[in-house]
Symmetry: C2
Subunit: 216 residues, 2 copies
DNA sequence: GTCTATTTTTAGACTAATCTAAATTTTTTA
DNA sequence: TAAAAAATTTAGATTAGTCTAAAAATAGAC
């Protein structure tokens, strides 16, 4: 098995990999709130274990084995988040830190039973897809509100910013996962957007529009 | 907060304390599968943190603060065991190791919500009492089957041996928590006991009778 | 295409938890 | 109550993960 710390590195590399091809040492250090020197040490260890492809100064990618581990951590994280919100009535902005701990519980039996207990959910409370036992998942095609034209309709299905502050703001504005919305107007000067959500109209900044994801 | 390891030491000391007054270094080492020298080091650290009363060569007792920590770990352990059995359909002999990991999840909010979600159970799947938020609990008065006379009746309410092997044996014999039983006969030669459980008669050894606890 | 800035790695040190082996204290026993 | 046995502690090392500071490699600018 892998240590808690190794798992966090693999998860971080996985998340950073979706953006660029090969991931740099500094990038990982920033993501994990640690120093580049510490990252280099850990990369050597992970490479030794064949969990990453690593060559000095060249950045890293996950091996198939490493990706498998990362996906199993992400699966656990998202299933626990779902549990916390759906069964224990946590708010969607309160679950991240607890799930960061729970994701390292090793029992495979536990996570699979938890999955069944909740009816095998496909998406977590923030709209992120939950990998299945095999690590497979389908991310739905999402677009930021900021990329839509006036009169487009769609369903709020994800967020780009997972911070508690952003989630609380959305909650307050009733812009939550599953809500059907329509782009009522776009301010051409500051790119702010007026969203029609049910019978309410909400005016959000360009930044918010950028971080709110819609399924068309 | 305390480390994972510190918590395990406090829990072990708590469990060992119920037997004798002051707990010895070797006793703790045996319970935690470690060496006496390691225990001494940790005892110094815990004493520094005022979680135990410790004087060289004199053994240890928990301080009020230490006992509070130990009880919170035990509360979490037993609540998670209850969850695993009642909600995720684990068998009572399968939950210990998973609960050993889950008990170290730190969120107080999580454990209190879990407690409410399950309806604030008072006993775990092995009959052990679950401390409440304040660490209070009521252990019911239990006697081993081996201490009862012929014709005594009672309800199976706990076990002294928590090993998977013993629990599986009881399961097979249908001697599970909550079952009403009667002492049908006692073999005076080997002190084995014949137990009437519903319409079945089960013949158990002295050792089993010693580890099976009854509420009268 | 060299030089500077940035990124990354190495070197050496630190902390937490552990170990073995040796020394010390307590307990037992005779 | 003194010697032997048992329990406990100290000393010194080890491993995982981290750090700072310095060295090395790569990338970018001109």
């Amino acid at each position: 098995m892998n240590t808690f710390t190794e798992e966090n590195y693999l998860k971080a590399i996985y998340h950073l990999s979706s953006k660029t091809e090969s991931v740099g040492t500094n990038e990982i250090a920033a993501a994990l709130n640690t120093k580049a020197a510490s990252v280099t040490d850990m990369l050597k260890k992970l490479a030794e274990k064949k969990l990453i492809n690593y060559a000095r100064y060249q950045g890293v990618t996950l091996t198939t084995a490493g990706e498998k581990v990362a996906l199993s951590i992400i699966r656990k994280h998202r299933l626990w988040e779902y549990f916390l919100v759906e069964k224990l009535n946590f708010k969607w902005d309160e679950v991240h830190d607890v799930a960061e701990e729970l994701e390292h519980i090793s029992s495979k039996e536990l996570v699979d039973r938890l999955d069944d207990f909740m009816g095998n959910p496909k998406y977590d409370p923030h709209g992120d897809p939950i990998p299945d036992k095999q690590g497979k998942f389908k991310a739905h095609e999402l677009k930021p509100v900021s990329s839509l034209e006036v009169n487009k309709e769609g369903i709020i299905s994800g967020v780009r910013d997972h911070s508690a502050a952003f989630l609380q703001y959305l909650e307050k504005m009733s812009l939550t996962i599953g809500k059907k919305i329509k782009i009522a107007d776009i301010n051409t000067y500051d790119h702010s957007v007026i969203i029609q959500a049910g019978d309410k109209r909400v005016h959000v900044s360009r930044e918010v529009a950028n971080n709110l994801l819609i399924a068309l």
